[in-house]
Amino acid sequence: MSLTLENLSRIVDGVDYIRNASLTFEAGSFNVLLGRTLAGKTSLMRLMAGLDKPTEGRLIYNGEDVTGQSVQRRNISMIYQQFINYPNLSVYENIASPLRLAKMPSSEIDRRVKETAAMLRIEPLLKRFPLELSGGQQQRTAMARALVKDATLVLFDEPLVNLDYKLREELRAELRDLFRERQCIAVYATTEANEALALGGTTTLLHQGQVVQSGPVMDVYRKPVNTLAAQLFSEPPMNLIRGRVSDTELSFDEDTRHALTQELADLQPGEYWFGIRPSHIALKPANDDDLEVPVQVALSEISGSETFMHVESRHFEMVTQLMGVHQYHTGAPISVYLPINKLFVFDTHEQLVHTPSQVSGRGV
């Protein structure tokens, strides 16, 4: 069982909602669509659901062309950002509604409603009405309704965005567990890199209606094909610094020059973009060949356990993510250290040309 998008486009009045998307989703897979607002996440889901018709391309489900087939004829569930429930129906009836529509016997409905409600931990609330529930409970109800009918395709459009971050943390973990045992295709849209990492599965990066990269989450995270992919899949965004490589030296500007080491020996002399994740920058060198970069502190944001320090030099700025509390005055001159084996390198067309060497695992 699989759903394949073949060169799917939706271009209306010269606006590219989706341009030339080719993707395959397997049964039993969890797929995250990651992109900024208006990247095309909702548009892509609406095409997959059959709510919108593509202007080009085909939608293949289990080998059958279902392009243009209406959503009613396919077994699809969709969960939206806003909690959509029937206000005049109890939680029980809200969850039961798709089954009643399918004319399922009431004993079977009862069994399924209770089972799904238990799964989402809203069993004690079945007699209540949606407006008597908290936001998290309302969204669980909407999710239960979407999950009760064993849909073959379940689409989540930023379902947790209106919830507390603690609730999100919990629901996210539940969702992941729920879908481990299911044979449906789950698609989940989010703007947050950290959510994509926490959910796992497959990640598809979308930007301006186009697929930037798609693959197993850690592959996409560890090997972003270009600077855009790297920026989209990193929070805070990956730092990018323009620099150059000569036969002997790597330099960002006149203040930051280093002898070329083995790690970057495969780079031809020329101009590059060097990428470094904020969490890989340190205040002390960890290795002899770490790049020392003199900078000034622009701002320290302290989250309690971590410090996000914004630093700048004459030619570039960077964000660092440091464990612990590090307080510096704005303008303080410091050095930060970039481990050379954590550097991503992109060419001037912003395509990945060098991936950090695989770090050796420590531990058991």
Binding site: N162, S234, E235, M323
Partner: protein
């Protein structure tokens, strides 16, 4: 700018409250000092919106007083309190230009035209929207609109405080970083009392010098982000701050301190003494995932634990460790690797192992 004092304040939406459960805000005393950058953090339903509405004047408290610089303002409207508010969704006039939007609050207050021009220009520069001044507001992006919303709050020079109610919810993560940084700069530059309501700990802690954590109608802790992280005063703060939150384990007393299952946790003498004076059986220990140490060899007071699960979050990993019937979460760096089912040794450094009785932290008396 004002100091905002909430004196013996409580609020119930019910006309005849019969018990604490009828209160959205239980009786509290709290001072927001002049010029401070504060956050009010808590889950939905904790009372933070009620609190914000009481400060702004949208809601009249059923008990107690709201004092601005010592003067009772309970009966004053938001406008008369000179409170500026920035909401989740930008509140601006779409048909007006950015300039007209920013000038509007000043025109209403009959500020001379020359001063309006000066002030609007000044605020637009701070917000980096000076090149957008003559654009219609409806043509702006979400983050630009929210900047204009903020600008409308900042533009008045007589403003007592600015209240932010989840102002970054509709903003993309990448831009949140920039807007937060902007807010912080504005606070440093204008020295204005700001209260920022959010359920997002990262937003709260990066914006505010001090955070009030609300839970169940009460402020359970008012402290710096570091204090909330290192010394959560209440188990709720331990749970709510941090991702994942603090490991909290129900324990029983024993000779050396406390124990759960067969694991004994050695406590400091003052902690044991404290416990001996109390009769409560609701005793927990708490340790943050960041403070758990994991080693391959046993150490003094280490426990042998089983690796149950490992979650790769890119910049770090969260590892689930089984100790008896309990599962503890530990944060390890991204290079750490361990086989599921293998055994490692866990240490809980005493300075990071907190003791809670009836959900509140037991602290050493100095």
């Amino acid at each position: 700018m004002a100091e905002i004092h909430l004196k013996s304040l409580a609020h119930s939406y019910s006309k005849s409250p019969s018990g604490p459960e009828d209160y959205a805000i239980r009786q509290l005393d709290h001072v927001w000092h002049k010029g401070g950058a504060y956050a009010l953090l808590g889950p939905s339903g904790c009372g933070k919106s009620t609190m914000l509405n009481i400060i702004s004047g949208l809601v009249q408290p059923s008990e107690g007083e709201v004092l601005f610089d010592g003067i009772r303002v309970n009966a004053l409207s938001p406008r008369d309190r000179n409170i500026a508010q920035v909401f989740q969704f930008p509140v601006i006039y779409d048909s007006m230009t950015v300039y007209q939007n920013l000038a509007f609050p000043l025109k209403n207050n009959k500020v001379p035209a020359a001063r309006i021009k000066e002030r609007v220009q000044e605020i637009a520069e701070v917000l980096e929207i000076e090149d957008k001044l003559h654009k219609k507001a409806k043509n702006l992006t979400a983050d630009e609109k929210q900047k204009v919303s903020m600008g409308r709050g900042l533009v008045r020079e007589d403003v007592s405080a600015i209240l932010f109610d989840e102002p970054l919810t509709v903003i993309d993560p990448q831009l949140k970083w920039k807007l937060r940084r902007k807010l912080k700069q504005i606070h440093e530059q204008f020295d204005i009392t700001m209260v920022y309501v959010t359920h997002d700990q990262l937003e709260a802690s990066t914006f505010a010098d001090k955070i009030a954590v609300m839970y169940d109608g009460q402020i359970v802790q008012f402290g710096t982000p570091t204090e909330l992280f290192e010394q959560p005063n209440h188990t709720f703060v331990g749970y709510f701050i941090g991702s994942p939150g603090m490991n909290l384990i129900d324990v029983e007393r024993c000779e050396a301190g406390v124990r759960f299952g067969s694991a004994e946790v050695v406590l400091e003498p003052w902690q044991i003494e404290y416990l001996n004076r109390l009769s409560s059986t609701n005793v927990k220990i708490g340790i943050r995932p960041e403070f758990i140490e994991i080693g391959l060899e046993p150490k003094v007071n280490s426990y042998e634990v089983e690796v149950l699960d490992m979650e790769d979050l890119g910049t770090y990993k969260i590892i689930d460790l089984g100790l008896g019937d309990e599962t503890l979460k530990a944060r390890v760096d991204e290079d750490f690797d361990a086989r599921i089912g293998s055994r490692v040794h866990l240490t809980m450094p005493p300075q990071w192992t907190m003791l809670y009785v009836d959900e509140f932290l037991i602290q050493e008396q100095s």
